[in-house]
Symmetry: C2
Subunit: 338 residues, 2 copies
DNA sequence: AGCTGGCACTCGTATGCGCCGAGTGCCAGG
DNA sequence: CCTGGCACTCGGCGCATACGAGTGCCAGCT
């Protein structure tokens, strides 16, 4: 529908605007990009692009800037994901290889991503609901007090304190621990409920209450939504593009602190591959002038969580996408190794 | 040295400036505070205060603002910690009572503190080094792979994966677990090293290597400094006072992300009670125009970690100190209960 | 001795005005 | 369909001016 050259013009506008942060005019365009046509021609193209809603002018006599729709077209059709250079890849790997545990992996990832993209990085902890159980441990802290420790295949550890209705014998506890593990070790979280359903029946009547309490706590832990923690870094980068928008930065900071909001937004990105949400495509007011680039990552082939970047709509999409993709890939490798 | 009235003038200047965020002049002072003297007299007092370095004027013909030294005097001699009102106390308690585990306590505390003070809140996780061991658990995940789980009296759980030099029999592991717990359960972290020193000697020669590996990992976990995590919230509040300082907000955000910096600063505040660091008293450049109000908190009478608030030097010290103290007190109660 | 009213002075900020130039839209011609 | 030319728009910048809050100082009063 749009002629090839007009697409080139749009691409040039996006690239220039991202670079200079200033509205770009027809003359500058023809000079900086070898379009081979005169400014007047470009002006006509720009008028058409504006007609279609891909670009807009902030003031009557100023250059054009891309609209959300323009960025969308750019990302979908005009941009290539920019692969990381070899040194960058090495830096990523070196940086992540030093991690000692899951917390450390996540912490390093968020720092790395923030540094690479010079934007705000968001990393979701590997979600429990898609993981498998590695081990369940029960510790007797007091006669009627048990601590439940759940270890996942991603190395994550969750603990819960349980107050039992009746004292729990050390033998019964060991028994429960053994039976529980033989059933659920290596299984997916989603399968656990039916696997333990009839477990209380094998115990003495006086222990059944306690066993049920333990099991229901385990199930709670498995489904508890707020377990989907996330970690954020690089907020200082917000100030880079905030010189115009000290009024814009506040809602963004608020949104970033409201983990629920971010989790919902990340959750909405169904596509397991890379997803880009531009400006108003984000169903949250405070993030209407930001874009989110996210991608799933996981220890195996399967994605267990997401990570990404939040930045101004006026961001370097190819570079950001390249960095996000590369980091997700390496994190997946690290997780698979451990 | 300074006459009583001059101290009153300083107090009035601080209060007005904190309220209005604008330099305060002699006329406004006499009007808003019942000083009972004329502006001219106040002007003389102000000249004297400026001479002593307690206040300064940003421009030749402008009002005065307090200097760091002025705030210091205000905090030390002129301000009373403002106690929380009864409804505020109830709100604090209600908010914290809903917490389910340590993570939740910390998360809620940081939100609460940020909300109460409308500033940036910082909460340090209860430090391992001052806590006691509740339980040590060893899980055999593979023949030569053991997971160490350490549970503290504050409810904190640390885990470490250990690769042993030789396979570890299930019996030996259970044995080690039992002996280890009988020695260290209930003891302070600092005492653990000598308590386990001779432990390997009780084991068969072929197991000693593995036992030593486990023990040294345990000791590492105990001393590892970076375990002193902290959680930050309310960064959006930075924008409240950043309208003048979009250039100031960036280093602050950077400092906040550098947990090491904050931990060091918190650590420098030796006083177990409330400490206030004002402006340049903070030995970190990025925080030269902020003040930090912090206080220790703990489950028993003893402080195990710190929490506090980071805000502009121009902050409501009495109110902030009251909120920080109250929150620390309630958090201590919650921790003691669990 | 200390407080007060008066007064001249400073200086930062707000306001209004005019210029400049980038950028546009349109049109006639190639 | 592209191009060069041209008139027009309008935001930004520099400058000069006016305003007013606030100060320092001094002479006089209690």
């Amino acid at each position: 529908m749009l002629s090839e050259r007009r697409l080139q013009v749009l691409r040039a506008i996006v690239q220039d605007y991202v670079g200079t942060e200033e509205p770009v005019g027809s003359k500058a365009l023809t000079e900086r990009h070898g379009l081979g046509v005169s400014p007047a021609t470009v002006r006509n193209d720009m008028a058409a692009l504006e007609e279609e809603g891909y670009i807009a002018q902030p003031h009557t006599s100023a250059g054009r800037i891309p609209t959300d729709k323009g960025y969308r077209l750019f990302v979908d059709k005009l941009a290539e994901v920019k692969p990381m250079t070899a040194p960058e890849r090495r830096a990523i790997q070196n940086f992540l290889d030093g991690a000692v545990d899951l917390d450390d992996v996540v912490a390093r990832t968020v720092r790395l991503l923030a540094q690479l993209t010079r934007q705000v990085a968001v990393v979701q902890y590997p979600s429990l609901t898609r993981s498998t159980v590695r081990h369940v441990e029960l510790l007797s802290l007091a006669p009627a007090r048990v601590m439940l420790v759940l270890i996942t295949d991603t190395g994550r550890v969750e603990q819960r304190m349980i107050d039992c209705p009746a004292p729990f014998g050390e033998t019964s506890l060991a028994d429960l621990r053994a039976r529980l593990n033989s059933r659920v070790a290596g299984r997916r979280f989603t399968d656990v409920p039916q696997l333990v359903e009839d477990l209380p029946e094998g115990f003495d009547v006086e222990d059944r209450g306690a066993v049920s309490t333990v099991l229901s706590t385990l199930l709670e832990t498995l489904v508890e939504e707020n377990e989907e923690r996330l970690v954020i870094g690089g907020t200082a980068n917000l100030t880079r593009f905030a010189h115009d928008f000290p009024l814009t930065i506040r809602p963004v900071l608020e949104a970033l602190e409201e983990q629920v909001v971010l989790l919902r937004l990340l959750g909405e990105m169904q596509n397991p591959g890379m997803t880009v949400r531009i400006g108003h495509e984000n169903a949250y007011e405070g993030l209407n002038s930001t874009s989110i680039v996210s991608v799933g990552y996981g220890s195996g082939g399967e994605a267990v969580a997401k990570l990404g970047v939040v930045g101004p709509t006026r961001m370097d999409y190819p570079g950001t996408m390249g960095a996000v993709r590369a980091v997700a890939r390496y994190v997946g490798q690290i997780l698979a190794e451990s």
